[in-house]
């Protein structure tokens, strides 16, 4: 694959032509935060936290491919505030109660809130009512914590039919993930573990399991999110 050069905030970067911008930035030690994008997987573009400016337009970074001479604006007060606002909106949209969440310390949303120094959201909490869905044998769906990133929808599929096990239903603020419980009951332990792991928040819970590692000693308790990319030099 031919190498190209592009710029992020004036910094000269190299990448493979057509490489995903978020991944190309990471290869050049620039951490563009995301909640839906997963390295090597197809772009979902649902969370918009990876917002950058290209040719004067705000765009989701994970939906862009780099090209020769491309100039990307990423680290500006305006864009950082928009990203922070998006994170705040995700917090007020549902009922995120970190203190007893199994994902706390491993949660990408919580980690980004810390990275962006979110102390209190600027928006009003909406306090929607969601029941925990518990009809699947081995997992639960905690809709209160879901950010509708759709990672589970796209990347967890029935191995025999390739059908989606998780899917979206409803629209606007009534949107929610639903699960095909017949297919879900066929899921292997490994597949359940994968679903729990790729969920960026604590919305997918493995029944009867959890709290196997102390708070305070978890992944993001040690280093802020994105540390492996930028060494924590660009925390906002």
């Amino acid at each position: 694959m031919p190498k190209i050069t592009f710029k992020i905030d004036g910094k000269q970067c190299t990448a493979e032509d057509g490489q995903n911008l978020v991944e190309a930035a990471a290869d050049n030690h620039v951490y563009i935060p995301t909640l839906c994008h997963m390295k090597g997987e197809k772009c979902l573009g649902t969370c918009r936290v990876c917002m950058v400016k290209v040719n004067g337009k705000d765009m989701a970074g994970c939906t862009l491919s780099v090209s020769e001479g491309m100039e990307v604006t990423f680290d500006t007060p305006e864009l950082n505030d928009k990203r922070k606002a998006l994170i705040e909106m995700l917090f007020v949209e549902r009922n995120h109660f970190c203190p007893s969440c199994e994902k706390s310390g491993r949660c990408d949303l919580q980690a980004l809130a810390y990275r962006f120094k979110m102390h209190i959201p600027r928006f009003r909490y909406r306090y929607p009512f969601f029941e925990v869905y518990s009809k699947v044998d081995k997992l639960m769906l905690e809709h209160n914590r879901c950010i509708l990133c759709q990672r589970c929808v796209e990347f967890i599929r029935d191995p025999d039919t390739n059908r989606k096990i998780f899917s979206m239903r409803n629209r606007t603020n009534k949107s929610m993930i639903q699960v095909d419980y017949r297919l879900a009951n066929k899921m292997s332990e490994e597949q359940i573990d994968k679903a729990v792991a790729i969920c960026p928040v604590g919305a997918i819970i493995k029944k009867g399991q959890g709290f196997d590692e102390a708070y305070g000693q978890r992944k993001y308790d040690q280093h802020p999110i994105g540390y492996e990319v930028d060494g924590g030099t660009n925390s906002k």
């Binding site: 203190p99 009809k135 639960m140 399991q209 102390a214 708070y215």
Partner: protein, 485 residues
């Protein structure tokens, strides 16, 4: 003219409460009440949560004794996953010992916090001492060595919690059927070698000094210590099978004010057969009582004084020697002197230190068999002796693993009636016959409440602020005077 005095909120306690005292035309105390005016309602919002989340969720009831709620919840959830001694399935020895280490560490730090940070200003400077210095900062200035030891003792207990649970407050240790990590040699040696913090032997030594401190205070202030806010009551606590003091597990025993055993060897799973709860319109805190004696007469005390009164011995050498001295003071009969809560609390502090030493030297803490599972059930009850007294958690879960019922009887709730009795007695001691109410009188009322180390947040599951406003109101609700501090 009849008057109503309000102390709102009560200071140097955990949480938010207020006191009202009604005086009749002649200035006699007619009625005194401790009102708990905060409410959060954990029993309701635990419903619907996955059962394995309970020990982590419920510890948010409190920032002072989260370990107690964590472990009481864990004991209940153990039973839901089939770990229940009566069924033949029990925790592994390392799991129980690690939980005990965490719990005794918490007992140690909580007792130290209460005695030195919250209560010692009253003892060192007097109930009527200058309000500007009657606080922990005043203690630090007047007795820096005492304050330093208090801080390092509390730190020791909190470091024990951190070593077992990852964090000093609101960590994770217990999981259904066990515990998620053991104690490494390196973590253990931190508490034994004295390189980074004073070691466990120093903690035992300082705890013994604290007991001596109280005994010295008592010798110099015997009448006040023995009579202030004193009242007769029954006493309840867990004791081990052979009657020893045990903070983690045991059966319930209740003795009355004269030493007559009202209940003994009661499996706490049958608590509903023996304990009732009454509600009153003027407080969010319920009023538990012994069904045997009814709601009027069946109230009792829990906590350090009650535990010393119900147990036959303390299973550690130095603490047991102090226990013998304390029991001898009342000729082996139950001690009903409210201010002696402090004495009992410091003996327990010494006991906790001794138990921690024994556990830290136990090689079981480095073993790896940490979790047990049995046959799942739909109900679990966990009871533990928290710093402030007997703590009860009771849950039922549905077939989908979500909690359907939660009942909590928190230590401070058990003491509700007793605290009201102490407030009444203190009001009689301090205010009877006086026409003006002074700040020291108000503090005297608080001293009576503080002896119980109440956690009003736990009792109603809320948080509070600590300014103090006292309002004098006549019988027609006219405000006669307002004092703010």
């Amino acid at each position: 003219m009849p008057q109503k005095i309000t102390i709102d909120p009560v200071t140097r306690v955990e949480g938010h409460g207020k006191v009202t005292i009604r005086l009749d035309d002649a200035g006699h105390v007619e009625q005194a009440r401790l009102h708990i005016v905060e409410f959060r309602g954990f029993e309701r919002f635990v419903q619907g949560r996955p059962y394995w989340e309970v020990p982590v969720l419920v510890q948010r009831l409190c920032g002072i004794c989260p370990v107690s709620h964590h472990l009481a919840g864990a004991k209940a959830v153990d039973e839901i996953v089939g770990v229940k001694p009566s069924t033949g399935t029990q925790l592994t020895k390392p799991a129980e010992k690690l939980r005990r280490l965490m719990h005794y560490g918490q007992m140690f730090q909580s007792h130290v916090l209460h005695f030195f940070y919250l209560c010692s200003p009253d003892l060192v400077f007097g109930v009527d001492g200058d309000i500007a210095t009657r606080n922990i900062v005043g203690i630090a200035q007047a007795a820096p060595e005492l304050a330093t030891k208090a801080i390092l003792m509390r730190k020791f207990g909190q470091e024990i919690i951190k070593a077992t649970a990852g964090k000093k407050i609101h960590g994770i240790s217990a999981v259904p059927g066990g515990i998620h990590k053991n104690l490494s040699i390196e973590e253990r040696d931190y508490f034994l070698n004295g390189k980074d913090i004073p070691n466990i032997d120093t903690m035992i030594e300082w705890s013994a000094e604290a007991v001596a401190f109280f005994k010295d205070f008592h010798a110099k202030n015997q009448t006040w210590s023995d009579t202030f806010a004193a009242h007769n009551s029954a006493h309840m606590g867990l004791v081990s099978k052979d009657g020893g003091m045990d903070f983690y597990h045991g059966n319930l025993r209740v003795v009355d004010s004269t030493g007559r055993v009202l209940l003994d060897d009661v499996d706490y799973h049958h608590y509903l057969d023996h304990l009732g709860e009454e509600t009153k319109s003027w407080s969010y805190m319920k009023f538990p009582f012994l069904k045997l004696q009814g709601s009027q007469d069946g109230w009792y005390r829990v906590g350090p004084l009650a535990r010393v009164n119900v147990c036959d011995y303390i299973p550690s050498k130095l603490a047991n020697e102090e226990y013998e001295i304390m029991r001898a003071y009342t000729h082996g009969k139950p001690n009903n002197m409210t201010m002696h809560y402090h004495w009992a609390r410091l003996i327990e502090t010494l006991h906790a230190a001794e138990v921690m030493k024994e556990l830290l030297n136990d090689p079981d803490l480095q073993k790896t068999n940490l979790i047990t599972k049995g046959t799942k059930t739909a109900e679990g009850i966990g009871v533990i002796e928290a710093p402030r007294g007997t703590l009860l958690h009771h849950y039922r879960v549905g077939a989908d693993d979500r909690v359907t019922m939660c009942n909590l009887i928190v230590s401070t709730t058990h003491n509700n009636n007793a605290m009201n009795a102490a407030v009444t007695q203190a009001a009689l001691d301090m205010m009877e016959g006086n026409t003006t109410i002074t700040e020291p009188m108000m503090n005297g009322i608080e001293v009576a409440i503080r002896a119980y180390d109440p956690c009003l947040s736990c009792a109603t599951h809320a948080l509070g602020q600590m300014p103090l406003e006292v309002t004098l109101i006549d019988s027609k609700d006219n405000v006669l005077d307002v004092r703010v501090r």
